[in-house]
Amino acid sequence: MSNLWRNQKVRNLFLQGLFVAAVLLIVIGGWMNAQQTMQSQRMISGFGFLHKSTGWDVNFSLLPASANDPYWWFFVIGIVNTLFLGVLGLMLATFIGGLVGLARTSSNAMLQLLGRTYVDFFRNIPLILQVFFWYAFVTRLPSVRNAIEIGPMTLSSRGVYIPALNVGGWYLFAAALALVAAVVLPLWTRTTRRIDKPREERRGMVLAALFGSLALVLALLWLGRLPETPLIDVPQLQGLNMRGGLRVSPEFSALLIAIGIYGGAYIGEIVRGGFKAVGRGQTEAAHSLGLSPWQTFSRISLPLALRAMLPILANQYIWLIKATTMGIAIGFTDFFMIVAVTINQSGQTIEAIAILMAGFLAINLTIAAIFNRINKAIALKGNQLRS
């Protein structure tokens, strides 16, 4: 017997078998127990509940929603809400983070101090505390009648009212896509290797891509405008309520502010790290070649720093998307909240959790894939020493 134990092959097989058995025990035991519990509560397991109507409503949705809609539609709504909040939050966080990171790497010590104060302050307080704070702040703004007006915006305890476009939903969506294209297409035509022309001669194409997309945006907005209304709908106070415009709910704005500020502090550090990773020799060489500070920054430091920070940035983005789940603490209907309410209402616990896992896995993998693709596209070719 002891001889058998000394045989490495036998031992390896035994250990792996033990591991598999333990995993199987947990999974099958859990499954059987769950079946038993469900049976005793007279519930049917499986995904059949997805086609039943929910019977409850959501308070925020980009897509049409009513209590008669089936569960699967609510899950779609949840994912869209999460992505909407996540993408806006990431954009805000990236903007703030870029400013903070630049401040921290600037040569001016006062500016560095300012950036450092920001990072140290906001990074060391839990995000959920900041979410609660901003929620309390936003819901304690003056009532609609005494609302604060900043330009065309109106801040009140019932939400932030911003001017809206009187444009049909699908046209608005298409116009938003065209706006994204107006940013991406010119960049792509400028940098791609697919077009067989030196970069200096592409100016016409870049401009064509830019203005073409912008024209498309305007055309879509014009085509989709609702009849008999002005194109831009400015909110106005009428009686006790606000008329027109778009109401941004306090939950949404609180989450957006918190994620933007907190994420900005983290992204600021990533940006700083990226610039720190650019070798001193690179900028010194640029200076000695007579490049101006702006040229050094835009042609040498920034491209190299961007490559250094992209992989870390991808992780941070995934983290921030996952952080949108905190919306449940203040009642924003994101994907996680829909899952939680589903469990509460239908009792289909395991199925709902499986959907939650699949949803987040899909989101995370998509972000990772996009970043891998960008990373690969801009990776430095060749094998020069770059430090």
Binding site: Q16, L111, A136, F137, I328, F336, M357, L361
Partner: protein
């Protein structure tokens, strides 16, 4: 005869010159410096004015007078600090809760001292400390009144969740990391799948699953209290992240180290315990401290699954009755507590990083 230029180094630039060089080199730089200085001064004045100069400090001011003032109203903290720190813990026994918090702080400070950095000593500090904490909080022996977990709250509950998460999660993370680098394909791939799945999920959903789903899947005798289930969930999440950090540390150990140990005939246990892990932990130390900091901040998430930790007790402290306007003061108080813990830990981490960089240069 010595050369005078060699004997005395060039005089360091005067403070004024240094100031000019750093802040006022060009007109643009000067403008930026002044603008930043102005902004910082404005912020500092705003905060100080709110929190100190025009604030209300008396413990028994009425909410109305407090509200009329321009600054912070610390009266709410003076009246409600027991709720924020101790939650629903019985009033007469709250000294136990306070003492338990002191024990945790002492534990953290002790494990930051380099003379305690051996597996045995750290384990002793943490196990004994947690046991002391548990006995103090729960009571039932030594003539202490027994107080159930459902009455724990505030800072003490936050610290308990943090400590228990680390105590379970850290050994688990080492096991995970060792399993992931195992040469047996089934084990390394299987655990890799678990780690990646856990890492791709939000912590909230894991806490939620452990609080709500696990009772479905486990027979009654295995379920335990809801608090302990949630702690297990948090520990699993911590372990999945920490395992990757330790794996990174293990990859940083030169291959020759393990090969040398093998050629000396050391057993797996000794190879891992005496050669690999000590070096890996050293590589992984900065990231590990960062992970502790993150998981301390994330303990606040348990509020969502219905625990009365410090944030929830803070919400309760201003949410009822006449203090509803005083949310800023309460959140500032809680933020200060978190900030003190997190900032000192992360400063300590930065110090360690510098200290270790000296050693390897």
């Amino acid at each position: 005869m010595s050369d005078p230029s060699l004997a005395s180094p060039p005089a360091p630039p005067g403070r004024l010159i240094d100031l000019r060089r750093r802040y006022f080199r060009t007109p643009v730089q000067a403008a930026i410096s002044l603008a930043c200085l102005g902004l910082l001064a404005w912020l500092a004045w705003g905060v100080l004015n709110w929190a100190v100069f025009s604030a209300e400090f008396s413990a028994d001011a009425s909410p109305e007078t407090c509200r009329a003032g321009a600054g912070a109203c610390w009266t709410v903290i003076a009246q409600r600090w027991r709720i924020i720190l101790f939650g629903l813990y019985p009033y007469d026994e709250q000294w136990r809760s306070a003492l338990a918090c002191v024990v945790v702080v002492a534990m953290i400070v002790l494990s930051c001292l380099p003379s305690f950095w051996s597996g045995l000593r750290l384990a002793a500090v943490w196990v004994l400390g947690t046991a002391a904490f548990y006995i103090l909080m729960k009571g039932g022996i030594f003539g202490l009144r027994q107080i159930g977990e459902d009455q724990w709250g505030g800072l003490a509950l936050t610290l308990f969740i943090f400590v228990a998460t680390c105590l379970i999660g850290f050994p688990l993370s080492i096991v995970f990391a060792l399993m992931r680098r195992s040469k047996l394909p089934v084990i390394s791939h299987g655990i890799g799948l678990v780690i990646d799945a856990v890492r791709s999920l939000p912590l909230l959903s894991i806490l939620f699953a452990f609080a709500v789903v696990v009772p479905f899947m486990l027979p009654d005798f295995l379920q335990g209290g809801r608090l302990y289930r949630v702690i297990c969930g948090a520990a699993l999440f911590f372990a999945a992240y920490q395992a990757e950090i330790i794996r990174g540390g293990l990859q940083g150990v030169a291959r020759g180290q393990e090969e040398a140990a093998m050629s000396l005939g050391m057993s797996y246990r000794h190879r891992v315990g005496k050669i690999l892990l000590p070096q890996a932990m050293r590589n992984a130390l900065p990231a590990t401290i960062n992970q502790f900091v993150i998981s301390f901040k994330e303990t606040s998430l348990v509020i969502v699954v219905g625990f009365f930790e410090i944030l929830a007790s803070g919400n309760a402290a201003y949410g009822t009755g006449e203090w509803t306007f005083a949310y800023r003061e309460v959140y500032a108080f809680i933020a200060l507590i978190y900030f003190t813990f997190v900032f000192s830990l992360s400063r300590y981490g930065a110090y360690l990083e510098r200290r270790m960089a000296v050693g390897t240069r």
